[in-house]
């Protein structure tokens, strides 16, 4: 009898925890949509911020700035990450490979604010001012471990016979790796890249003292640049009601960017699979 009661109790507990975990998720999305959708309009998407106290204005410069910083980040993080992944899978079955694997793990667990400090002292201090480039460096560094591990895992799943078949046809190793192994694994590698992208797209902490933020348009890499996440942060902790509304709108755009990236992954990978292996 008592055992049956405990069993029922445990079942109820597990169901309740599942509900308790999922409720905040739904609540966050509901609030984002309800609060954000009212403030997203043409002005929000095309104008720069108004000075405090004035209503209106938008985050167009921050949306473009986020794009710019992510572009620099991807240009640094993706080649280095994919390259390191190829090394680990194709050449790295040795002591040195283990060292690289360990350092990638260290980088993966590093708090993002610490990466911000390092990007500040490596790029901002020599350059003598905050810049989109330094923000991109910080985000790029954060992308490397995720991309490298995904690439390695996917390449290791490519059967060795495919490589040997290519060697048998007289194809050199570099060509085999790029056009056969990597191509076979491309769906998984792209997924890894997009996950890394989605992970850094909403990052704020490493941008605080690298990209710094900007109330005006800026497309130069060596100037302080606005970013969506930074703008949401600044507006959320400000005392102005109008800015609070814009913070919700900015957050909505940000989450749509991230969800869009993840959805794009699903589309490309399923299309890649249809084409067939290799």
């Amino acid at each position: 009898m008592w055992r049956r009661v405990t069993n029922q109790g445990a079942t109820i507990f597990a169901v309740v925890t599942a509900i308790v975990v999922i409720v905040p998720l739904l609540a966050i999305f509901a609030y984002l949509v309800f609060k954000g959708i009212g403030s997203v309009n043409i002005a929000f998407l095309t104008q720069t911020p108004k000075p405090p106290g004035e209503t209106g204005g938008g985050m167009a410069n921050a949306i473009v700035g986020t794009g710019l910083i992510l572009l620099v980040g991807s240009a640094i993080g993706l080649p280095l990450g994919i390259g390191a992944g190829i090394y680990l899978a194709e050449y790295g079955r040795n002591r040195f490979g283990d060292v690289i694997r360990f350092t990638a793990d260290v980088l993966n667990g590093m708090p993002s604010i610490v990466i911000g400090i390092v990007a500040y002292s490596l790029v901002v201090v020599p350059q003598k001012h905050f810049s989109a480039f330094s923000g991109g460096v910080a985000l790029g560094i954060m992308m490397i471990p995720t991309v490298a591990r995904a690439t390695e895992e996917m390449l290791l799943m490519v059967p060795n016979v495919i490589r040997e078949a290519a060697y048998g046809l007289g194809i050199p190793k570099w060509r085999t790796t790029l056009s056969i192994s990597l191509r076979t694994a491309s769906a998984g590698v792209i997924t890894g890249c997009m996950l890394a992208f989605a992970r850094v797209a909403g990052e704020t902490a490493p941008l605080l003292f690298t990209a710094f933020g900007n109330q005006f348009w800026n497309l130069k890499l060596n100037q302080p640049t606005a970013a969506l996440s930074l703008q949401v942060f600044t507006y959320a902790i400000s005392p102005y009601d109008d800015w609070h509304k814009q913070a919700w709108a900015g957050a909505l755009i940000l989450i749509m960017l991230i969800v869009g990236a993840v959805a794009a992954v699903r589309v490309t990978t399923s299309r890649g699979k249809l084409k067939g292996v290799g």
Binding site: V15, I100, P111, P172, W174
Partner: protein
């Protein structure tokens, strides 16, 4: 001796022939040099003797690829070096006593990190206290109880929690969670548990409690996904054996699954701790940012990550900046140890390299 050799009775064993027929060593011997992932030595030999040799492009490719791998190593070394180099001033000035100094007084150039360490520890442990039962409950529900059709959806929703940026949690914390705490939860806690001393004082909504709750929500997907992974690694016949002895489902989960998976679950919890310690934005937005050590969870606090986030760009003077970097260095070392410990524990269960996500 006749010139012809009887094939059935060779004068010496074939394996010990001194002069092989060709200049190449026997295939079997060459194949011993083969390592997994490197291709066969035979193939490499054949390719390098091929008239259209590809040795130079291959070597170039190998060097380029190795350079990208080395860059990962170099970046981590640079990070450590920069943190040590930039905090040198503060390390010299305060030494190790920096970590138990209670004063944070930028005006007089007196820096002690204890309030931040206290805030980081208390908010992280509060987060774990809330998140651990929740995550284990969710993992048990998903792996053992949930109808198969729902399983993928629920685990997808839990993973989605991990994809929401920290700053959005902070936004939600300021405008939804904090008012909720201020109006309903904190008065209730003060009435029922006020005598413990943890739930007294003015109720702002923003404070240690809010930070702990927000962080708990963010840590749940980390712990839940690792717990799920190690629970799936428990062999099915363990479950069947316990059930066959007449156990109820809960007894089966407790004795057959959780007991076998406990080391891995502890690893997952520690991995969650690592994430909580380094968490910056959401906590900065809801913790109240006041460098003081208060017993009450309603009171505002400050964490190591949030003091860097708030004061780094405003730091005037080299010593101030250096003190902030030293906090960053401490944060890095602590998360490094915590993550390494967690990985060892998880590996000991799942055996092999787990997914790189965390």
């Amino acid at each position: 001796m006749p010139d012809t050799v009887d094939p059935m009775n060779p004068p010496e064993p074939l394996g010990q022939l001194q002069r092989p027929v060709t200049a190449m060593p026997p295939l079997a011997q060459m194949d011993q040099t083969r390592k997994p992932g490197q291709g066969s030595a035979v193939l490499q030999k054949i390719r390098s003797s091929h008239p259209r040799s590809s040795r130079i492009p291959d070597a170039t490719f190998r060097v380029l690829i190795a350079l990208t791998a080395v860059s990962v190593f170099v970046i981590v070394v640079l990070v450590v070096w920069e943190l040590i180099d930039k905090s040198r001033l503060s390390l010299h000035q305060f030494g190790i006593s920096f970590f138990w100094g209670r004063d944070w007084d930028p005006v007089n150039g007196n820096f002690g990190a204890l309030p931040f360490i206290y805030g980081t520890l208390v908010s992280s442990f509060l987060a774990l206290l809330l998140a651990v039962p929740l995550s284990i409950g969710v993992a048990v529900y998903i792996t053992e109880m949930c109808p198969v059709r729902l399983r993928a959806y629920i685990s997808f929703l839990v993973e989605l929690l991990a994809a929401i940026p920290s700053v959005i949690y902070g936004l939600w914390g300021i405008f939804v969670l904090a008012p909720l705490l201020r109006e309903y939860v904190e008065p209730f806690l003060a009435r029922t548990l006020g005598w413990t001393g943890f739930f007294t004082g003015p109720m702002y909504g923003l404070g240690m409690l809010a930070a702990g709750i927000i962080m708990a929500i963010m840590v749940v997907p980390v712990i839940a996904s690792i717990t799920r992974e190690v629970m799936t690694a428990v062999p099915q016949n363990q479950r069947e054996a316990v059930l066959a002895l007449g156990a109820t489902r809960w007894e089966m989960i407790r004795m057959g699954v959780l007991r076998n998976a406990r080391i891995g679950i502890v690893g997952g919890v520690i991995l969650g701790l690592g994430r909580a310690l380094g968490e910056t934005m959401a906590v900065t937005m809801v913790i109240g940012n006041r460098p003081e050590i208060a017993k009450s969870l309603f009171a505002p606090g400050y964490t190591m990550a949030s003091v860097i986030a708030n004061e780094f760009t405003e730091a005037t003077g080299d010593l101030y900046l250096s003190a902030l970097v030293q906090i960053g260095l401490a944060l890095f070392i602590v998360t490094l140890i915590v993550n390494a410990l967690a990985r060892l524990l998880v590996w000991s269960i799942t055996g092999g390299t787990p997914r790189a996500s965390a």
